[in-house]
């Protein structure tokens, strides 16, 4: 290899050129040393710290089949415990004959509790873009939207929103056609903290969750007048 080729090879990967190949050229030997030193510094810099509990959160996300966001710093054992609990809970859910809209919705709401505290209203056009991805023409959704993201609802990419009804949070899930547990029969559900309602519209499942039953019907009536579905 001539000097030019050796120099080029050093820049490509200094570890691939051994000292013997450069024995008669002090300039190239010095260049090799410099590049090896620089590579060591680069390697150290590239090793940025990995966020705490990242691996455990990735495993939890797979168990839940939806992304897991880091909201608070959890010690390792707390995240490991939550992986176990989530696994048990969802294992139980999947063994129930109907892991229905209500159970799925409540599980999501509890999992994303911080979403209920969102305050700032999202711009309408950006909310419309998310609905458009599901084939829904929202027109002018007549309730403020405080939170909006896609989630995996029972394995189906769905929309999770938090609406504002006169200062109170109402969660809305919009599940596109194709969900295994979709039902055209209206469903009511509740637990100690939340009440919920599920209906089907143009093949899409709409699931509402709120802390008061009065909010559900009022919201559903308002949405019914604004949501249009493109089939």
């Amino acid at each position: 290899m001539d000097k030019l080729a050796l120099r080029r090879a050093l820049y490509t990967d200094p570890k691939q050129i051994n000292v013997q190949q450069l024995a008669d050229d002090s300039t190239l030997l010095q260049l090799r040393q410099e590049l090896l030193r620089m590579d060591q510094q680069l390697t150290d810099t590239l090793q940025v710290p990995v966020p705490d509990t990242l691996t455990e959160r990735m495993l939890l996300a797979q168990r839940l089949e939806q992304p897991v966001k880091r909201r608070i710093r959890l010690p390792y054992y707390a995240v490991a415990a939550s992986v176990l609990l989530a696994s048990l809970w969802f294992a139980q859910l999947s063994q129930t004959p109907d892991a229905d809209a209500g159970q799925q919705a409540l599980a999501h709401v509890y999992h994303e509790m911080a979403a209920l505290d969102s305050r700032a209203e999202l711009p309408a056009e950006q909310v419309n873009e998310l609905f458009a991805e599901l084939g829904i023409d929202v027109g002018a959704i007549s309730l403020p939207v405080r939170y909006a993201r896609f989630c995996h609802f029972g394995g189906v990419r769905s929309l999770h929103l938090v609406l504002d009804w006169q200062g109170e949070a109402v969660t809305l899930f919009v599940i596109p056609p194709g969900w295994a547990h979709a039902s055209d029969k209206p469903l009511q559900f509740a637990d100690a903290r939340f009440v919920g309602q599920s209906i089907q519209k143009a093949g899409h499942q709409l699931v509402l969750v709120a802390q008061r039953a009065e909010l559900l019907q009022a919201t559903m009536d308002r949405l019914g007048n604004t949501l249009k579905f493109t089939i």
């Binding site: 990967d13 510094q41 990242l54 691996t55 990735m58 993201r149």
Partner: protein, 171 residues
């Protein structure tokens, strides 16, 4: 736990740190890197039956991550995911990490064009050979070698410029 689940969990434990670091240097944002790794691993789980050999796992996962990153730009989706951050984030704007990176090499790496940064990260961080990088980036080996050459040459020149400006060498 079935064997597929066990294999998947082994992959996650083995590769999450490197996937995160690679994603970080790809998109220059810790938050986006986390999201990318999450989407990558969820997609990997959905397609786990495609992975025939354990030896192919690294390349397979990094390929998925690159595709997820490309998809991020194709969607032009605003980042609604972080509920504490109510203002919208433009994913192409410099990240907070970029703004505050005081470590000189960190800044210089951020400043490298992506086409140079990606090969050098894959070589030094992940330990890929030129051939492996070429397959992952779908380039020929000569192109990869040229980009590695240019990355090191640019970094070396900038470090020397900083040295002559009187800025003390870091480390």
């Amino acid at each position: 736990m079935n064997s597929q689940q066990q294999n998947y969990e082994a992959l996650v434990r083995a590769f999450t740190p490197d996937l995160y670091r690679y994603a970080y240097w790809l998109c220059r944002s810790a938050q986006t890197a986390e999201d990318l790794v999450q989407e990558t691993l969820l997609r990997a789980w959905k397609n786990i039956s495609q992975l025939q050999e354990v030896q192919a796992a690294r390349a397979w996962l990094f390929t998925i991550l690159r595709h997820e990153n490309a998809r991020r730009f194709e969607r032009k989706q605003f980042d609604y995911a972080d509920v504490e951050q109510n203002s919208l984030t433009d994913v192409t704007a410099p990240s907070p990490e970029h703004a505050v990176a005081t470590d000189r090499l960190h800044r210089l790496l951020f400043q490298l064009p992506l086409e140079y940064r990606e090969p050098i990260v894959l070589q030094l961080l992940v330990g890929m050979t030129g051939e492996e990088i070429a397959r992952l980036l779908e380039l020929n080996l000569n192109t990869v070698n040229t980009r590695l050459f240019r990355a090191r040459a640019q970094l070396r020149a900038q470090l020397q410029d900083n040295a002559t400006d009187g800025v003390p060498l870091h480390g």
